[in-house]
Amino acid sequence: MTGMRLWARITVYALVAVAVLIVAFPLLWMLAAALKTQSEIIDPNASLLPLHPQWGNIVTAWSTAPFGTFFANTAIFSVVTTVGQIATGMLAGYAFAMFDFPGKRTAFYLVMSGLMIPFTVVIVPVVQLLADVGWINSWPGLLVPNLASALGCFLFRQFFLSAPLELGEAARIDGASEWRIFWSVYRPLAQPMTAAFTVIAFLQNWNNFLFPLVVTNSEHLMMISQGLTVFQGQITGIAYNLLMAGSLIAVVPVLIVAMIAQRKVVEGLAIGAIR
């Protein structure tokens, strides 16, 4: 394959360029549209590029809806739920992999059946349960149902099953407590797994739309995704430059983080495929 002919190489590069363009064109369009003037947007024959870039559109969008609150809420939600999912997933996975206890099989099957029940299927009763305890429109309602991940538990269990037992036994002979063995021996060993899971869990929580949508409707608890839909309702008219400016505000921070952590993102998405 190394001895590819020139035209074959050119074809491959051209096709890759098309593939890259498939990903890029909506983002470029968003950027261009976000910077256009009102009259450029509504003119079907206007240039595709903004001839008089209106950076002010982004400022206007930012001040039309409480984006600061949306970002703060999204950050709180994503950090708390991700930390929760890692802590509970790692401890449960560790317990399932390392210890024997009565009812272990039953407990494991119950947790795994959680993987087979998509959240979308149980959304109605979950909201009813949250309403029964008065958690609609509240932080506990948003956070508590998202503190555990059956996927995380499964992934960490798989990881700890393949971890060497001798390390723990050696520590046990040296008099280390069970907690100490977990914390100082096996937890550091799981570091790469933890990093990859953190990335996908965080992105998933950051982008979660349906759950917050059905649990909250008050603006001071809204996250960026739902906030955008509110923002769309607030801007009127057929000119969508502000709508694109709002989308730009939501996209750019994630894009920057994803670029910085791209290796971990790719790894995380590959293991997360079994979800």
Partner: protein, 280 residues
């Protein structure tokens, strides 16, 4: 372990039992004044457009899976070619997966704006008729196209990892024996990738069945229910229509959706283990 077990039971298993139980009752959102209806909700689902929603779900999911799989596999094959620079573009394909889908859905929404949207500008430039989200067929194409754009990167990543793991010596030996690129793909790579293909079909199908954001932003299930999938039916009956909705119908449709997801998972996982055993 107890927190995971407790939360799974509380927010997955108990709700599943509840949704099955309540699908047999008529009542309001708060679960008061329940009256036993037997399978009444299920027959009502089919009387109130639920059957249509299931057909829409099938069309959407089939289209979504076909486009993502073909696009994903094709691009993975391209990126697997050993030419300088191709390894670096891999990370680029995760962008649509990681940026907020609501924001990118708005981008696709503007593509279909009459006259000024990107697609309509291209189409009118080519002298073709306009597309609009108020046309049922266009709306379906729009949600499939956006869904595929948003998701195909996952397929690229997993196929690419699998392609990189194929035994190089076998492929090189075949090349030495005169097998062309197409024959190597057809007779060596494709059969060796069967396991991944089956797995990806499951994942993509489940993802398609659970698609929500695309439809919420682009079409709100319309026009005239043309993009109202089973999940969107659940959402509208339970939350979207206010007092006009029926929780009983939403519960019944949830159970149907669960049954479909379960059948998909089990059939395709069986296929995976069978092909794994055949390969062993």
């Amino acid at each position: 372990m107890l927190p995971v077990l407790g939360l799974t039971i509380l927010f997955s298993i108990v709700p599943l039992v509840l949704v099955i139980q309540r699908s047999l009752y008529r009542g309001n959102v708060f679960g008061t004044n329940l009256t036993f209806a037997g399978l009444g909700n299920y027959t009502d689902v089919f009387r109130t457009g639920g059957g249509h929603s299931l057909i829409v779900t099938a069309v959407f999911t089939a289209g979504f899976v076909a486009v993502t799989m073909l696009l994903g596999f094709g691009i993975a094959l391209l990126l697997d070619v050993r030419l300088p620079g191709l390894a670096q573009v891999r990370a680029f394909f995760v962008i649509p997966l990681v940026v907020p889908p609501v924001a990118t859905a708005f981008i696709w929404y503007t593509f279909f704006q009459p006259g000024t949207g990107l697609f309509n500008r291209v189409l009118s430039g080519a002298g073709l008729p306009q597309v609009t989200l108020s046309n049922p067929t266009d709306a379906m194409i729009a949600v499939i196209a956006f869904g595929a754009w948003q998701y195909f990167g996952e397929i690229v990543l997993i196929y690419l990892a699998a392609l990189k793991a194929l035994p190089r010596d076998v492929l090189e030996a075949a090349a030495v024996d005169g097998a062309g690129a197409w024959q190597r793909l057809r007779h060596i790579r494709w059969p060796l990738l069967r396991h991944q293909t089956a797995l990806l079909l499951v994942i993509a199908t489940l993802f398609g069945l659970q698609s929500f954001t695309q439809i919420y932003v682009l079409t709100d299930g319309g026009p005239q229910g043309a993009t109202q999938t089973a999940l969107y039916y659940v959402y509208q009956e339970a939350f979207g229509l206010g007092a006009g909705g029926s929780t009983g119908l939403a519960d019944a449709m949830s159970v149907i959706l669960f049954a479909i997801s379960l059948v998909v998972t089990i059939t395709q996982l069986t296929l995976v283990s069978r092909s794994a055993r055949a390969a062993a």
